[in-house]
Subunit: 344 residues, 2 copies
């Protein structure tokens, strides 16, 4: 046995995953896609099953001080459905496991499950299993989502071609600013418990961080309009990080046009208040749960008919790197500064 000690922080989340799965064999003939994408794909004699799982830990992924339990239940489901959508698949089922400390009452859990069931109802999915347990510290949530897709119609990160157009759904950067607002109000509350939170005019930002929605509408629209993305990923860690995933997996470079990145008006206003660059919020903020995907150029005419989709750039040769073309005409390398699951 090697006596050396390698710190996990030195490896980073993606390095660690790569390390841990390097010897992962595939034995089942039905395993079409395994570890390394948003979800796995299993063949099922006609349709294919897509599966994904996420762990949400109190103090790491959410702060109970400003996260209403109903929203948390909804979000725990939503972020998993987003991974299924990122495969161009339709979510159908989830399992939900929770570990809870004795500070939780049944009424508190009911609120959490109200949110879980609200998400199930909205997205027409079934909760089919789970596990409940005591936790020594903190609220532990583990969700597995399952979806279905027609044979070989799933979309991975690796299929982008040179010249393909890069698209994002909705708008970016709002969830990050929503989180900054909640953190600011928490700080004020801890210093002066009597002060009421001031979140006027920020409803959109708060909703984006507390109650994200998977873009199943986009997946359905793409199918209805016969647009098959060449690659796709959901934006959980910021546009830069996800764009780099697509570039690396597809062995290509890209150019993103800063001026094309879509923002909500509240995002722009609040970014200026906080004296941060809205582009930085989009690139590195994370938690937007929008879809980032590439399409063939011939699908451009179809795509622009959907106001919820913005074309933000195109794929280039790998040698050209993954670049941002700024409003002022400068080129910057994209850097993955997304949320790090293993902070130093």
């Amino acid at each position: 046995m090697d006596e050396g000690r390698t710190e996990i922080a030195d490896m980073g989340e993606f390095g660690l995953i790569k390390h841990l799965t390097q010897n992962n064999d595939t034995r089942q003939a039905g395993t079409i896609l395994s570890v390394g994408d948003d979800a796995a794909v299993i063949d099922n004699f006609g349709r294919q099953t897509v599966i994904t799982t996420d762990l949400l830990l109190e103090g790491i992924h959410f702060d109970m001080m400003y996260t209403p339990l109903k929203h948390l239940g909804y979000k725990a489901v939503a972020v998993n459905l987003s991974d299924i959508c990122a495969m161009n698949a339709i979510p159908t089922h989830i399992t939900m496991s929770i570990g809870i400390t004795n500070r939780f009452s049944v009424e508190a859990l009911d609120e959490f499950y109200d949110g879980v069931y609200a998400a199930c109802e909205k997205y027409d999915i079934d909760l089919v299993g789970g596990d409940t347990s005591t936790s020594q510290k903190g609220f532990v949530i583990s969700v597995t989502a399952i979806g279905e897709v027609a044979p070989n119609k799933f979309v991975t990160r690796s299929g982008a071609g040179k010249g393909d157009l890069i698209c994002v759904s909705g708008d970016l950067g709002a969830a990050y600013l929503g989180l900054q607002l909640l953190e600011r109000e928490k700080k004020i509350f801890l210093e002066s418990p009597g002060v009421q939170p001031d979140l006027g005019g920020k409803a959109y930002l708060i909703q984006r961080i507390l109650k994200p929605e998977p873009r199943l509408d986009i997946v359905n629209w793409l199918q209805e309009n016969d647009v098959v993305p060449t690659s796709m990923i959901d934006i959980s860690d910021g546009l830069s990080s996800e764009m780099l995933h697509i570039c690396n997996s597809s062995d290509l470079g890209c150019i993103l046009h800063e001026e094309k990145i879509p923002f909500h008006s509240e995002t722009k206003e609040t970014a200026y208040e906080f004296q941060v660059d809205p582009t930085a919020c989009a690139l590195s903020g994370g938690e937007d749960y929008e879809l980032l995907f590439t399409i063939k150029q011939e699908d451009y005419e179809k795509i622009i008919r959907n106001e919820q989709i913005s074309v933000v750039g195109y794929m280039t040769d790998k040698a050209e790197g993954a670049m941002l073309l700024t409003r002022s005409g400068n080129k910057h390398k994209l850097v993955a500064q997304g949320w790090n699951a293993f902070p130093q």
Copy 2:
């Protein structure tokens, strides 16, 4: 909103699950079996998919002081495969999510995954996804297992008929005594760190608690011999608790014959050393991960050819209750004293 506070401990694990899932709707036509059994069943145009999930939390489900990481990885997989086997299905895939504190080195995680992959190899299953994250406290493990079964050949807890024979695989009570041995040695070590652990002659008991095996061999044997159990469950919380699940779900009573309960010789010897009743270890000990199932009487001749299966009783009318017939000829009501996920 109800202002009252209901303690989760007052409800118990099964009461809580029932409470939380009472409004759980089924929307997907493919959902054949949802919450409430060992695993859910999803129809997939030919084969059916079985899915189950378990959360394992440090300090609640395992003690890192005496649990080697490789064994822990193996066990985290094995206990989930056991749930798939309990549906009379063949496990095919797992996802594995972990939350880890910074006291973990990469080498430590490698050991854990050595165990995970060893279980995957032994049971011919694929690890197809997961999530890794920091944890503020304690090692968090969440596994989801998927299996397949021919259409409507899955076996639930609710199908037992009056007069059906009750069978258990392997032997019972060993894992509980293995745990007692490890707890004893931990106590001695904490009091006198220089003392070496004394586990001579206890290899079987230690193996049963640290490295349980799902009884896929039994599932395969049943299929090869055309025996379809009428009901089945895996024994994770003790024979009493699991027997009561089958009785309640099947709306029947039962009689278990104490003298028929199978024990390993080490179990009997060690029970006497600890001055506990081996029957109590089997009934309430838990973690044996054997299969408990019922068969029609006409399958008796087939079943007795398998030395790994013991017939321990039969199903009766509900009015007769769930009873243990002791060696001395007395009848006692079975009581679920299994491991409680929500201790008071």
